[in-house]
Amino acid sequence: MAESDGGSGLNIHPMDQFVVKPLFGGDVVHWYTITNVTLWMALTVAAVSAVLVLGSRKRALVPSYSQSVAELLYGFVHKMVQDVAGKEGVKYFPYIMTLFTFILGANLLALIPTSFSTTSHIAVTAVLALAVFITVTAIGFIKHGAGFLGLFWVSSAPLALRPVLAVIELISYFVRPLSHSIRLAGNLMAGHAVLKVFAGFAGVLGVGAVVPIAAIAAIYGLEVLVAVIQAYVFTILTCVYLNDALHPSH
C-alpha cells in the first residue's frame, strides 16, 4: 500500500483507493461499465455464498465447523430481528439478512490490502439506507394507515409540548437515512484513509518506518472491529426502524 514517488518528500494520496475505475480500459464510467465496484461486489457475493451455502451444504445434525459459522450468523441475525422488531418482524428476516451479510462481507473484504471498499461510498450506503427508509415507511403506512403518524405524536408528553415534539420527531425521522448511510460510509472511509496515510509515512521514514507499521497493525485490528460493528449497527438500526413501523405507538 505504501507508495511514494522516489521517496522524495511526502506524496500520499489517501483517497486514491476509493476511485471508481473501469476494469477493462477506458476512462468513462457508464452505469453498465464493469468497474472495481463490480469486482468487489462480486467477490462479496462469492464470500457470502461460500460461507452460507457451502457451510450449510450437509445439513448435519451435529454441525461441522463451517456449518457452525453459517448457523451462528443465521441465529445471530434471526435473534436480533426477533428481539428488536418482535415476532411480526421475523417475516422480514431474509431482507435484513441480505443487508447484514452484504455489509459484513463488503466491510471485511475491504480490509484486504489494495482492495476496493464498496461500503465506503455514499452512493452505496445511501441506496441501502434509502431502501430501508422507504420500505419501513411503506410498511408503517400499509399496516397502520394514518395511525402510523402516531409515531410522531408523543402521547405520553403534556399536550402543549406535543406539537413541538412532533416537529422534532418528524425531523429526526427524516434525518434517519442520512445518519444511517453516512455512519457506515464515514467509518469505513476514515479508517481506510488513515491506514493509507500511515502507510505513506512508512514509505518515507526508512528505518523509522517501524513506528507507522506498528500503528498500521494496531489500526488494522481496530478496523476489523469497526467492519463488524458497523455491519451490526446498520442492521440493528434497520430492525429498530422496522419495529417503529410495526409498533408505532409510543
Partner: protein
C-alpha cells in the same frame, strides 16, 4: 494505484462525491443485493433454518424419550416394590399359619398326654388303695389271731370272738 486518471480525478478531493460514478455503483449494488437475496432465500436460509429446526426437533425428541424411559423405570421400580411387599406379607402369613398349626398339634398332644397320665395315676392310686386295704385286713386278721392266741394262753376257754374283734378294731383305730 497512482495512475494518471486517479491523479486527474482525485484533485477535487473525495471520489465518494464524484457523481458521475453513482449510476454505476447503484446499478451494481442493486444487482449484488438481488443476487445475495436470491441465494439466501432459495438456498442458504431454508437449509440453515431446516438444520436448526431438525436439531431442535431431535433434541426435543430425545428429551421426550428420556422422560418416557424414566417413567417406565419408575413404574418398574414401583411394581418391584409392590411384589416385594406382597412376598413379605405372604411369607409372614405362612409363618403365622404354620405356627398356629403346630401350636394346635402341640396342644392336642399335651392334652392327650395329660389325660393318659391322669388315667394312669388314678389306676395306680386305686391299686395302692386296694393293696393298702388288703394289708389292713391282713393286719387285723393277724392282730385278731394274735390276740386270740394271747387270750387263750392267759385265760384258756374264755375267748369271746366278738368282744375280741371289737377290742382289736378299737385298738387298731386308736
Amino acid at each position: 494505484m497512482a495512475e494518471p486518471t486517479a491523479g486527474a480525478e482525485a484533485a477535487p478531493g473525495m471520489p465518494q462525491l464524484d457523481f458521475s460514478t453513482f449510476p454505476n455503483q447503484i446499478f451494481w449494488l442493486i444487482v449484488t443485493l438481488v443476487v445475495i437475496y436470491v441465494v439466501l432465500t432459495k438456498i442458504a436460509l431454508p437449509r440453515i433454518g431446516g438444520a436448526l429446526e431438525d436439531r431442535h426437533d431431535a433434541i426435543a425428541n430425545d428429551l421426550e424419550q428420556a422422560a418416557t424411559l424414566k417413567r417406565r423405570a419408575e413404574e418398574a421400580e414401583e411394581a418391584y416394590n409392590a411384589a416385594l411387599a406382597q412376598a413379605r406379607a405372604d411369607a409372614q402369613k405362612i409363618a403365622a399359619d404354620t405356627k398356629a398349626e403346630i401350636q394346635t398339634e402341640v396342644d392336642a398332644a399335651t392334652a392327650k398326654a395329660d389325660a393318659e397320665i391322669a388315667a394312669k395315676a388314678a389306676e395306680s392310686e386305686a391299686r395302692i388303695n386296694e393293696i393298702r386295704a388288703s394289708a389292713m385286713e391282713a393286719v387285723e386278721q393277724v392282730a385278731n389271731e394274735t390276740a386270740a392266741a394271747v387270750v387263750e394262753a392267759i385265760l384258756p376257754g374264755a375267748v369271746d370272738d366278738d368282744a375280741l374283734k371289737s377290742a382289736v378294731t378299737a385298738a387298731l383305730k386308736g
